[in-house]
C-alpha cells in the first residue's frame, strides 16, 4: 500500500471522529505553541541584549587598570588602580607598535550633577577624546563632536545624550546647542547632542555627557589628577580583535616595564567576551523555557497514544476485515502510524501558527517593552517544533499501531 492511500485512510479515520481528533490535536497544538512562543521570548531577549552590546560599538577591547594592591598585596577592588596614562594611549595609537589597533581612546569617568537654570540632572560624565563618538558608535545629531584642539586646550565644552536634553532642555536638542550647563559647578558649553541609541537593558546609554579628557582632568577629577579609568581600543574587524588585544597587551607591558605578563597591572576584556557571557546566559534562559514547554508536548503525545489505543480497540472489527481481504501487517501498521502522525503533525502546524501568531501579537500590541523584550520567532524552532510533533506522533503511535497490526484476524472479525 502506498503512503498516499494510507494518508487518505488516515484522514477519513480522523474525519469520522472530528471532535475527538480536534481535542487530541489540541494537546499537541498547545505544546507546540508554547514551545514556539517561549523560545521566541527567550530569543527576543537574546537578540535585544546582543544588539545592545553591539550598539556599544563594534570590535572593541576594553583595558582596565588592574586592582591596586595595598600593603601586603591586599586587593583594593576592580579598577581601583591608576596605572593607565596618556602615554599608554599614545603608544597604542602608534601604528608601528600596534598595527591592528585602529583607534585607542582614554576614558575618564567623572560623574556629577548637571544644572541648567532651574533644572538639574545626574548623568554619567566621561572625559575622552574626539574619537569617542566614532569608537562607541554614537552619532551626533545636532551640532558636532568637540575637536582635537578642544582636547589640547582643555576647552570646557560638552556633548550630551538625549536623556540629558530631555531633562535639562525639555527634549529640544537645537535649544540645547551653545547653552552653558554646569557640571560639578563648572560651566561647560553644549556643542553637540548624540542621537538616541535606545534605552533598554544595559542601562540608559543616552544618559551621557562627554567632555574633553583634559577638561575632565582639570575641572572634574576631584583632585585625582590625570586619571584614566579605561582605555577603549577599536579593531578593524572581528578577525583583528584577537591580534589587536595581544598587540595592546605587549605595548602596555613594554610601557609599564613589566616582564612577566602574569604581573600585568591592567586587564583586557573584549566586547566578544561580554557578548559570549550574555549569549550564554540567554541561551540557558531559552533552553529552560523551551524545556518547560516541551513537557506539555510530551503530555500531548501521551494524549495521542491514549486516543489511538481507543481507536484501535473501536476499530478492531475493521482491522479484521482489512486483514481478511489482504492487508498485510505492515499495511495496518502504516495506516495507524500515519493516522497518529497526521494527528500530531496537524496539531503541530496549528500550534506553529498559534505560537507565531501570539508572538507577533505580543510584538504588535506593544505589550513587549522595557523589561519585556519583543519575542523573535526563530525559524529553527519552527522546523524543530514541527519535526518533534510528527516525531511524537510516530513515537506514541508505534505501540497502538503495532497492537492493531498484531491482531489475529479471526478474533478481530468476531469482535463485537
Amino acid at each position: 500500500m502506498k503512503v498516499v492511500e494510507a494518508l487518505a485512510l488516515a484522514l477519513s479515520g480522523l474525519n469520522s471522529n472530528r471532535l475527538r481528533s480536534v481535542l487530541t490535536m489540541l494537546g499537541i497544538l498547545i505544546g507546540v505553541a508554547a514551545v514556539i512562543l517561549l523560545v521566541a521570548v527567550g530569543n527576543g531577549a537574546s537578540v535585544q541584549i546582543q544588539s545592545q552590546i553591539q550598539g556599544l560599538g563594534s570590535n572593541l577591547v576594553y583595558i582596565y587598570p588592574a586592582n591596586a594592591r595595598g600593603a601586603g598585596g591586599v586587593s583594593q577592588g576592580f579598577g581601583s588602580g591608576q596605572t593607565l596614562t596618556q602615554a599608554d594611549v599614545d603608544a597604542l595609537n602608534d601604528k608601528t607598535r600596534a598595527p591592528d589597533v585602529v583607534t585607542a581612546i582614554p576614558v575618564s569617568q567623572a560623574s556629577g550633577i548637571m544644572v541648567y537654570q532651574s533644572q538639574n540632572w545626574f548623568a554619567s560624565t566621561s572625559g575622552s577624546t574626539q574619537d569617542f563618538a566614532q569608537v562607541r558608535n554614537y552619532e551626533v545629531s545636532t551640532g558636532a563632536m568637540f575637536t582635537d584642539s578642544d582636547v589640547r586646550s582643555a576647552a570646557k565644552v560638552v556633548v550630551i545624550g538625549e536623556t540629558v536634553v530631555d531633562n535639562l532642555f525639555g527634549g529640544d536638542p537645537s535649544s540645547a546647542l551653545d547653552k552653558t550647563i554646569k557640571i560639578q559647578r563648572q560651566p561647560f558649553r553644549v556643542v553637540g547632542v548624540f542621537a538616541s541609541k535606545g534605552s533598554q537593558g544595559l542601562g540608559n546609554q543616552d544618559n551621557i555627557a562627554v567632555v574633553p579628557i583634559t577638561a575632565a582632568w582639570s575641572y572634574l577629577s576631584g583632585g585625582r589628577g590625570k586619571n584614566i579609568s579605561q582605555i577603549i581600543i577599536e579593531a578593524g574587524s572581528p578577525d583583528t580583535v584577537q591580534p589587536a588585544t595581544s598587540e595592546a597587551t605587549q605595548v602596555l607591558l613594554t610601557q609599564h616595564k613589566i616582564g612577566d605578563p602574569s604581573l600585568a597591572d591592567f586587564t583586557t576584556q573584549s566586547q566578544q567576551d561580554i557578548l559570549n557571557s550574555a549569549t550564554q546566559t540567554t541561551a540557558i534562559f531559552t533552553v529552560v523555557l523551551g524545556a518547560i514547554a516541551g513537557i506539555s508536548l510530551v503530555v500531548g503525545g501521551i494524549g495521542i497514544m491514549n486516543i489511538m489505543l481507543v481507536t484501535v480497540t473501536e476499530r478492531t472489527r475493521e482491522i479484521g476485515i482489512r486483514k481478511a481481504i489482504g492487508a498485510r501487517r505492515s499495511d495496518v501498521l502504516l495506516q495507524f502510524l500515519i493516522e497518529s502522525m497526521v494527528l500530531s503533525g496537524l496539531g503541530g502546524v496549528l500550534g506553529i501558527i498559534v505560537g507565531a501568531g501570539a508572538a507577533a501579537w505580543l510584538d504588535n500590541a506593544k505589550i513587549a517593552s522595557g523589561t519585556f523584550p519583543p519575542p523573535v520567532v526563530s525559524y529553527p524552532s519552527v522546523f524543530l517544533a514541527f519535526g518533534v510533533s510528527v516525531g511524537i506522533g510516530l513515537f506514541f503511535g508505534i505501540y497502538p499501531a503495532n497492537r492493531a497490526a498484531g491482531l489475529n484476524p479471526i478474533e478481530a472479525l468476531r469482535y463485537e
Binding site: 502506498k2 477519513s12 476485515i321 482489512r322 481478511a324 489482504g326 492487508a327 479471526i410
Partner: protein, 244 residues
Amino acid sequence: MMDPSAAAQPAHAMIELEDVTKVYRMGSVAVNALKGVSLRVDQGEFVAIMGASGSGKSTLMNIVGCLDLPTTGRYFLDGVDVRRLNDNQLAAIRNLKIGFVFQMFNLIPRATAVHNVEMPLIYAGLNSQRRQLAMAALDAVGLADRARHQPTELSGGQQQRVAIARALVTRPAILLADEPTGNLDSESSGEIMRLMVELNAQGHTIVLITHENDIAAFAKRVVRLRDGLVVADQTQQQRVEASA
C-alpha cells in the same frame, strides 16, 4: 463463461485438504476442532459445507480462507502449499486468491460502496484501473447506481451484494461465503443465492458454509461435518436420490 463440456474433463483442484487437523488450546484444555478432514474442491464447483455449531465448519472455513493454519495435515490452495507461507504471503493469498463473504457483511463503515469494493485492489497495489474494476464488479452484482452510498444507506441485501462485489474484484480462485444469508430476510436471501448460482455458472468456484438446508440446496455438492469429521459428501443428485 465456462464451457459445459469442460465439466467432463478432469478439472484442476482449487482446494485440496489432506487429513487436516486443528487443535486449539483453551487454557490447559486442548480442543480438537478438526480431527482429520480430507476434501477436494475442483475449479467451477459450488460446494456447501453444512454442520451444526461446534461441528468445526467455522474452523474449516478459517483454514480454507487462510486466516488460520492447520495443526497437522496439508492444504493446497490452487496448487500452493499454504503451510509453507509466511504472514505476508498469506495476506497476499487472501487478497488475490480468496474472496470472503461474511454473515455480518463486514463492510468498512463510513466508506462508500465503491471504496469498499476497491479496498482489496488497494492492498494489491493496483493504482490505475482501480476505480474501473471496482465499478465493473459493482455492476456485476447490479449495484452500479449505488456506488456512492455508504453501507448504512444500503439495505442488508444490497450490503451483501457490495460484499460479494468486493470478494470478486480481484478475480479470486474461490469465493468463500460464511452464512451469507444468515442476517437476511428470505427475499434478500433468495436474491443473494440466485446471484451465487449465476456467478458459479460464470465459472467462479464457490464454497458456501451454512446450516440451512434450503440454502445448501442451491449448491451442486454438499459436505456435512460432525464433530470435526466429514460424515457425508454428496452431489445434489445423490442427495435427491437418497431422500427419495
